[in-house]
Subunit: 341 residues, 2 copies
């Protein structure tokens, strides 16, 4: 690679801004362009979007084709959406213009999970246009899948996997809090789960399939449950107040079955201020395996920062990969590249 | 890959036997041949070597060329030695005969560490003969390097790495115990370090360089210290007795410097029966990074089993790789492949 890598960032929300900031700090990486879906951002300087108090000479484009033409990027990071369907149009425009992509859309962590046909089409398009495409993130993309796979490297046999991620939603605003049912009564939470407004975590099927793909397991089904975490104490953040008896978050679990038994159990209780009831945040992976493996991290790897980092850290792998659609299990380990510590 | 992968195992010691056993259990893998350095093993059936009480129809060869001709292997696992110099002749015979290799020789985890010239020559030979070559193992090869690199994937910036592995040498026999100075007086331990008979851990420079390679760091120097772990209690295993005041093991550390400061600290105290003095075995990784990461496993990942597993689990990556010499940082994550759980 000659000269810095020219990066086009799609998305000017929390994640997109995080990627832009890291692109400014990381040696060897050049923030070449920014695309926003929100029309009102058109023409603003990226420095203003980031609140830097100085211009960066990079104007936000709201036409992706115009952004590509202006930026002439080596690679794009997509931070605009969560679903494959919503990611699709931007991905195809990028590919048709010869731009490789790292997407943090949750469903892109294992696109075949939502649609094997669309995943095949992504792979075909990527090969036709000579680009590589990857979905990643902290979860799905790392803690409950890639790290699990990494630990199986030292196992002769793996019988089952249990991975738990306990985090704190306090930093998050209304969109995330509503998707987890925070502040609802238990009855309203149940209704929200039923009508799809309480979503819980997006990415469990992707993580299960990523693990199964790496281990050569054929999954029979994946069951998911979403239960309210009912607070027994008063919890209050900048964005929400939870009274005793109200819902502080969503305990979302997924259980994947193979050979007639539960082989992958993923547990992800997301709530505001868990420590108020003595709950420590953590990442925890247990492999029922030969040899057995149990690894824990306390506190948990922080989601937002980690997603920004792993997207940027995946860039060299994607630029070095042969054309095609990749998962985290198919590429070398990303690392915090960029030169001296 | 059509049909099972034909594996040639080099080495009939503890590690070689472990690989042979796993080859018998793992679907899709066929124990096609066994090579031993010890002439007295020639012609013995692999089943007898493993004490299975039945023949496997695989006779141990003590000529590597004869073993290759008899086995027609897709891949070889080398479990005969620790150093690059000692591994060299077998590696070149394998490569000249078109056989890809996974080596658990510690110095093969990052061969350029001992000799950049020999590493280049390995890479050239591998390309000339269309084969791929990898060094791996639990340590070096995983806990104090690959797993560290994996965790940096979620970091925007890494300032320094500290990784500790506390293990128990109780299962090991005289060769390993002597190399760690177990049972010596502190004075004899110091003399052993000075004259090279007390070796400590083999692999610290390789782990440091593997991390630096992945992160793009240029190391200035690596300092190693070997200190006696003097027991205050009576410790006794099947192979050694340690009286109070004698040495129970070796606390070996390595510190790697870049930009004038310590950036990688690896700590590996190896001793018999650490729990007798309240010391828990563990693997522990701390990244001074944004975001910070701290992961621990208790007890430690057991060395022997894990090395056998990671060597076998690396086979598909090596068979799918383009010709050349690889490190663990250059290949996709190995996983416990082999079909249903």
């Amino acid at each position: 690679m000659r000269g810095p890598i020219r990066l086009l960032v799609l998305g000017t929300g929390h994640m997109g801004q995080g990627v832009m900031r890291l692109a400014l700090e990381r040696p060897g990486l050049d923030l070449a362009g920014v695309f926003a879906r929100r029309p009102e951002r058109r023409g603003r300087d990226a420095g203003a979007v980031l609140g830097l108090g100085r211009d960066l000479g990079v104007a936000v484009e709201t036409s992706l084709k115009a952004a590509i033409d202006a930026a002439r990027p080596d690679i794009a990071i997509q931070a605009t959406c969560s679903t494959l369907a919503d990611a699709w149009d931007e991905l195809t425009v990028l590919m048709h213009n010869g731009v490789s992509v790292v997407s943090i859309a949750e469903e892109m962590a294992y696109p075949a999970c939502v649609s094997p046909n669309l995943a095949r089409e992504l792979d075909t398009l990527a090969r036709e246009h000579g680009v590589a495409v990857l979905g990643t993130g902290v979860n799905p993309g790392f803690v409950l899948d890639t790290l699990v796979i990494a630990l199986t490297a030292v196992c002769k046999t793996v019988r089952s996997v249990t991975a738990t991620r306990v985090n704190d939603l306090s930093p998050y605003g209304p969109t995330v809090l509503n998707s987890q049912g925070v502040g609802l009564t238990p009855e309203a939470f149940a209704a929200g789960v039923a009508n799809g407004t309480v979503v819980g975590h997006v990415g469990f099927p992707q993580s299960c399939h990523l693990i199964a793909h790496a281990l050569g397991w054929t999954l029979e089904r994946i069951d998911e449950t979403r239960e309210p975490i009912v607070s027994s104490v008063h919890r209050e953040t900048a964005h929400v107040t939870v009274k005793p008896g109200q819902v502080a978050g969503c305990r979302h679990t997924a259980t994947a079955y193979a050979t007639g038994r539960a082989v992958i159990t993923l547990v992800h209780p997301q709530q505001v201020l868990p420590h108020l009831e003595g709950v420590e945040t953590c990442d925890d992976i247990i492999l029922d395996a030969d040899p057995p493996v149990h690894l824990s991290g306390r506190p948990e790897i922080p989601g937002g920062e980690a997603t920004v980092a792993i997207a940027v850290n995946s860039i060299p792998n994607i630029l070095n990969a042969r054309p095609g659609l990749y998962t985290m299990a198919d590429l070398p380990l990303p690392a915090a590249w960029g030169g001296q510590p």
